[in-house]
C-alpha cells in the first residue's frame, strides 16, 4: 500500500471544490502539519513505552505488563495523567521565560519534520537546504534549555541548563561535520536527493568505505550527546543536579519537555537512517515501513547505549568532543572530499 496515492487523491478532491489555489495549498500544508504532529505524538508515546520495555529487558525485568498486551496502554495512561496534573508555576520564576521554554522546545522538535522524508514522496516540503534547515532548527532546543534553566530561578535548573547548552553546542560541531561528509558525496543538501543517491544497498553511505562508517559513528556519538542521553546525560545527572533543567516543571509543561526529548531522539535516528542507511529505500515493503524500521533500529541503539554505559564527567565530556570527535570528523571530511575528488569508490 502506498500512502502517497491517497494524498494525491485527497489533494485533487480539495482542488475540485473550486477553492483558490492558495487556499488549497494552505489547507493541504496545514493538514500535513497536523498529520505529522499526530503521527509523531503516537511515535513519541510508543518510544516512551519502548524505552521502558528495552530497559526492562536489558535489566532482566519485564517493565509494564498489566495494562494491555505487555503494558502497551501504560504510556497513554501516563500521558493522560500528566496532562491532568496541576500546572504549577513557582512564585519566583521568570514567568514569560518559564512559560515559553517548553513551547519552544516542543515547536523546535516538531518543526524539523518539515524536511524529513517518511517515505517515497512522503515529505512536507523538499527544501533544497533540507539538512541545513534541520540543523538550524535544532539550535532552538538549546535556547529552550537555557530559557528553562534561567527562567526556573533555581540553581540546579540553571546549572543543568548551562551544562546541556554547553554540551549541545560542542557536540553540534562534530555532528555537522560528519553530516557534511555525506553531503559532499551526495552533492546536495536536499534530503530526498540524499536518499535517492543511495538506491542500492552498497550505495548506502554507511558502506562507503572508509569514510562512511567513521562519519556514521561520529554522527551517532554526537547525536547521543545532542539528545542528552547516557553516557552524555550530564544535564540531568541526578547525583549532582537533582533533575537538571526541568526540575521546576510539572504537569503539561513537563510533558512537553518530555515529549520533545523523545521526538528529538526519533529525529536524530531518522536523520541517521536517511543519511547513512538509505532512508526509505528497500525492497518489497512500502517505503515508509522501511524508513520506520531503520529509524527504530537506530533508536534502539541509542537506548542500548543509555542502559549500558555509566556517565562521563563534565570535563571528560568536553575533552572527548573537542580533542577526539572533532579532529576525527574533520579528518574524515577531508578524506571524503578527497575520495569524491579523486573519483574513487564513486559508484
Amino acid at each position: 500500500m502506498e500512502i502517497t496515492g491517497i494524498f494525491k487523491y485527497l489533494y485533487e478532491l480539495l482542488q475540485s471544490t473550486g477553492l483558490p489555489q492558495v487556499l488549497v495549498d494552505i489547507i493541504a500544508l496545514a493538514s500535513a502539519a497536523v498529520m505529522i504532529f499526530g503521527v509523531l505524538a503516537v511515535i513519541a508515546l510508543f518510544l516512551v513505552w519502548w524505552e521502558r520495555k528495552v530497559s526492562a529487558h536489558i535489566q532482566q525485568r519485564f517493565g509494564p505488563m498489566r495494562t494491555g498486551w505487555h503494558g502497551w496502554r501504560q504510556t497513554i495512561a501516563d500521558a493522560v495523567k500528566l496532562l491532568q496534573k496541576e500546572d504549577i508555576t513557582p512564585s519566583t520564576v521568570d514567568r514569560p521565560v518559564f512559560f515559553w521554554a517548553p513551547v519552544i522546545a516542543f515547536v523546535a522538535a516538531f518543526m524539523v519534520y518539515v524536511t524529513i522524508p517518511f517515505g517515497d514522496g512522503l515529505i512536507v516540503s523538499d527544501l533544497n537546504i533540507g539538512i541545513l534547515f534541520i540543523i538550524a532548527i535544532t539550535t532552538f532546543t538549546i535556547i529552550s534549555l537555557l530559557m528553562a534553566g534561567w527562567g526556573s530561578n533555581n540553581k540546579y535548573a540553571l546549572l543543568g541548563g548551562m551544562r546541556s547548552a554547553a554540551q549541545v553546542v560542542s557536540y553540534e560541531v562534530p555532528m555537522v561535520v560528519s553530516v557534511l561528509a555525506v553531503i559532499v558525496f551526495a552533492g546536495s543538501l536536499s534530503m530526498v536527493d540524499i536518499v535517492q543517491s543511495q538506491a542500492k544497498i552498497y550505495k548506502w553511505y554507511f558502506f562507503r568505505l572508509p569514510f562512511g562508517p567513521i562519519a556514521f559513528f561520529t554522527y551517532i556519538i554526537a547525536a547521543t550527546a545532542e539528545t542528552n542521553r547516557t553516557p552524555f546525560d550530564l544535564p540531568e545527572a541526578e547525583q549532582e543536579l537533582v533533575a537538571g533543567f526541568n526540575v521546576e516543571y510539572s504537569g503539561m509543561k513537563f510533558a512537553m519537555f518530555f515529549l520533545a526529548e523523545f521526538v528529538n531522539m526519533f529525529t536524530v535516528s531518522a536523520i541517521g537512517a536517511t543519511l547513512f542507511f538509505g532512508g526509505w529505500q528497500g525492497p518489497l515493503l512500502p517505503s515508509w515501513v522501511w524508513f520506520l524500521v531503520k529509524t527504530f533500529a537506530l533508536v534502539f541503539v541509542l537506548m542500548w547505549f543509555r542502559w549500558t554505559y555509566p556517565r562521563l564527567r563534565v570535563d571528560q565530556l568536553m575533552e572527548f568532543s573537542w580533542k577526539f570527535l572533532l579532529p576525527v570528523s574533520f579528518a574524515n571530511l577531508i578524506l571524503a572530499g578527497w575520495m569524491k575528488y579523486s573519483g574513487w569508490f564513486n559508484w
Binding site: A237, W307, P310, R311, L312, Q316
Partner: protein, 295 residues
C-alpha cells in the same frame, strides 16, 4: 549478620566457657560470607548508579535477591537478620538450603564476569575512576580506614587472616590487594573479594559437619565482670564490639564500631582538587553507609 557475629564473639570471649559447636561455626562462616557478598552487591549496584549506569544496579540486586532468599529460608528475615546467637546460631538450616546455595554459587562466578564486562573494561567507567580519589597507605592507616578501602591502598590487612576468628584459618582464600588506592582499585578489590567469598562458602558447604548448632547458654546467663573487645572483618572493614560487664544479666556498656566512620573522615582529604562529580564517585567507592557512621 556481622553485628550478630561480633557481639556473640565478644560475649563468648567474656564468658570464656562457651564451646561453640563445629556445625555452628561453619554456618556462621557461610552466613558471614554470603552477607559480605550481598553487601558488596549493594555497593556494586549503588556505585554504578552513582556513576550514571542504571543497569548494573539491577544486576547486582538480582543476585542479592538469591542471597536474601537463602537468608529468609534460614532465619525468616530478609533485612534485619538475627541468626547468630551467643553460643552458636539460632537454629539449623533447612534441608533445601545446601542445594540452593550450591546452585547460587554455581552461577555466581559467571555473574561476576558479567559485572566485569559491563563495568571493569568500560572506558567511561575507567576514565571516571582511575586516578580519582587516591588514598595513600600512610593516610589510610593514619585515619584508621579498614577493609577493602585499605587493601586497595596496598595494605594487605584483613582480620580473617591477620587475627583469625571463628574458623577462618581452615579455609583457603586470598586477600586481594592493590596499590594505587584510587576508586578503580577500590572497585577491583571488592569485585575480587566477592569471588573469594564465594570460594570460602563453597569450601564451607563441602565440609560442613553434622551435629548441634547451639551450645546450651542459659537465659539468665551472667558473664563475669570485666571488659572485652572483639573484632571481625565485615564488608566495610573492621567491625568491633566492646562490652563492659559488671557481672549482671545486662552489660554496663556496649559499643559497636563500624568501618564507615573512619572512611567518612578521609573524604575531605580525598576530594581535594577534584570535580563535584568525582565526589560522588569517591564517596561511592569508599562504601560509606551513613547510618553506620553514627553507631
Amino acid at each position: 549478620m556481622s553485628c550478630n557475629m561480633v557481639f556473640a564473639l565478644a560475649a563468648e570471649k567474656l564468658a570464656g566457657n562457651i564451646e561453640v559447636p563445629e556445625r555452628a561455626e561453619y554456618l556462621r562462616v557461610i552466613m558471614l560470607e554470603l552477607n559480605r557478598i550481598a553487601s558488596h552487591l549493594i555497593w556494586f549496584g549503588t556505585t554504578s548508579l552513582d556513576l550514571g549506569a542504571i543497569t548494573p544496579f539491577l544486576y547486582g540486586f538480582r543476585e542479592r535477591e538469591d542471597i536474601l532468599d537463602l537468608f529468609e529460608m534460614t532465619c525468616g528475615q530478609r533485612l534485619t537478620f538475627n541468626y547468630i546467637r551467643v553460643g552458636g546460631v539460632a537454629g539449623d538450616i533447612p534441608r533445601e538450603f545446601i542445594p540452593k546455595c550450591r546452585e547460587f554459587l554455581g552461577k555466581f562466578d559467571a555473574k561476576v564476569d558479567d559485572y566485569e564486562r559491563v563495568l571493569t573494561e568500560n572506558p567511561i567507567f575507567v576514565a571516571r575512576n582511575k586516578d580519582v580519589g587516591i588514598l595513600t597507605p600512610e593516610m589510610a592507616v593514619a585515619y584508621g580506614v579498614s577493609g577493602p578501602s585499605l587493601r586497595a591502598s596496598g595494605v594487605r590487612f584483613d582480620l580473617r587472616k591477620d587475627d583469625p576468628y571463628s574458623i577462618y584459618d581452615r579455609f583457603d582464600f586470598n586477600i586481594p590487594a592493590f596499590h594505587n588506592g584510587d576508586c578503580y582499585d577500590r572497585y577491583m578489590v571488592r569485585i575480587q573479594e566477592m569471588r573469594e567469598s564465594a570460594k570460602i562458602v563453597r569450601q564451607a558447604i563441602d565440609r560442613i559437619p553434622d551435629g548441634e548448632v547451639r551450645a546450651k547458654v542459659s537465659i539468665n546467663f551472667k558473664p563475669p565482670a570485666g571488659e572485652v573487645y572483639s573484632r571481625i572483618e565485615n564488608s566495610r572493614g573492621e567491625m568491633g564490639a566492646y562490652i563492659q560487664s559488671i557481672g549482671e544479666k545486662k552489660p554496663l556498656r556496649v559499643k559497636l564500631r563500624g568501618g564507615s566512620y573512619n572512611q567518612l573522615q578521609v573524604m575531605p582529604e580525598l576530594v581535594k582538587g577534584h570535580k563535584i562529580a568525582d565526589v560522588v564517585a569517591i564517596m561511592a567507592s569508599l562504601d560509606i553507609i551513613m547510618p553506620e557512621v553514627d553507631r
